[in-house]
């Protein structure tokens, strides 16, 4: 039982660290703010969540101590991180940051509530 729990903890923390690394790599490699946002808001969420889950399991197995604050942290990260990604993308679009050159479609440009003259070079 203890061995299985240990393996689960190791796997969770390694996956979390790997996903955080991938998120950082994606922020460096991807071409524009919107695609970077994909990497940052998805990989970082699951990475932090699985590191926290590993921490929770570790202290529960080692000391028998169930830390409910870590559980709350998982829930808060899960709820707030997509909203943060959405707000950053929206703020970028409204302040006129251009899409990547190879982008094929932009329906938002024709939307009636977007100011047409507001876009400028970034």
């Amino acid at each position: 039982m203890n061995e299985i729990a240990n393996i689960a903890i190791i796997v969770l923390i390694l996956i979390g660290a790997f996903l955080s690394l991938v998120a950082a790599y994606g922020v460096i490699r991807l071409p524009d703010i919107y695609t970077r946002n994909h990497a940052a808001s998805k990989s970082a969420t699951l990475g932090v969540m699985s590191i926290l889950l590993g921490t929770l399991l570790f202290f529960y197995v080692k000391d028998g101590f169930f830390n409910s604050r870590v559980l709350l942290g998982i829930v808060f990260v899960f709820m707030t991180s997509p909203v943060a990604g959405h707000l950053i993308a929206r703020a970028a679009y409204n302040s006129g940051v251009k899409l990547w050159d190879k982008s094929v479609q932009d329906d938002l440009k024709q939307a009636p509530h977007i100011k047409q003259s507001g876009s400028k070079e970034h």
């Binding site: 946002n37 959405h86 679009y93 479609q105």
Partner: protein, 158 residues
């Protein structure tokens, strides 16, 4: 729905007072009997039997976790490919959902879906503007996925 839960809690307390034992187990027993009573009298309530809604909420939670894991695998595939040959774009998605919280849950789900990110919501809550990382092959699958999301959310709010 909240009224049915409150009624069920009252029935649990009623059972505690009737039996004279003030233990959590007695409350639980009374709550289960109250659940049976509410199920029997479900035709007198306006909304559905509330346990069905609770099941729908749990179902939505599992969809969230599944999509989060799939989204990460999708981002990994895009990132670790040697060539950046995807074609991003923003497309408009008309939604049928009305309430603010439904739109919020739907856009969070879309943001956690593989390859999509909500950029803007139109002021009349009718259209979501979604940035897709690969617009060609994604379009149809995304629409089908989102029909299941919208269906799951409507299952909760019905």
């Amino acid at each position: 729905m909240a009224f049915q839960i409150l009624l069920n809690v009252f029935l649990g307390f009623m059972w505690m007072f009737l039996t004279g034992s003030y233990e959590p187990v007695a409350f639980l027993k009374g709550y289960l009997f109250g659940l049976l009573i509410i199920f029997t009298f479900r035709r007198f309530f306006d909304s559905r039997f509330y346990l069905l809604r609770a099941v729908a909420v749990i179902n939505l939670l599992f969809i969230f976790i599944k999509e989060l894991i799939l989204a990460n695998i999708g981002v990994l595939k895009v990132l670790l490919k040697p060539k950046l040959d995807f074609r991003p774009g923003i497309f408009a998605y008309p939604t049928v959902l009305k309430e603010d919280w439904e739109i919020m849950v739907l856009s969070n789900l879309i943001t956690l879906t593989p390859g999509t990110l909500v950029v803007d919501v139109s002021p009349d809550n009718k259209i979501l503007y979604i940035h897709a990382i690969d617009i060609e092959d994604a379009k149809e699958t995304i629409d089908s996925i989102k029909n299941t999301f919208e269906k799951a959310i409507m299952e909760v709010s019905r």
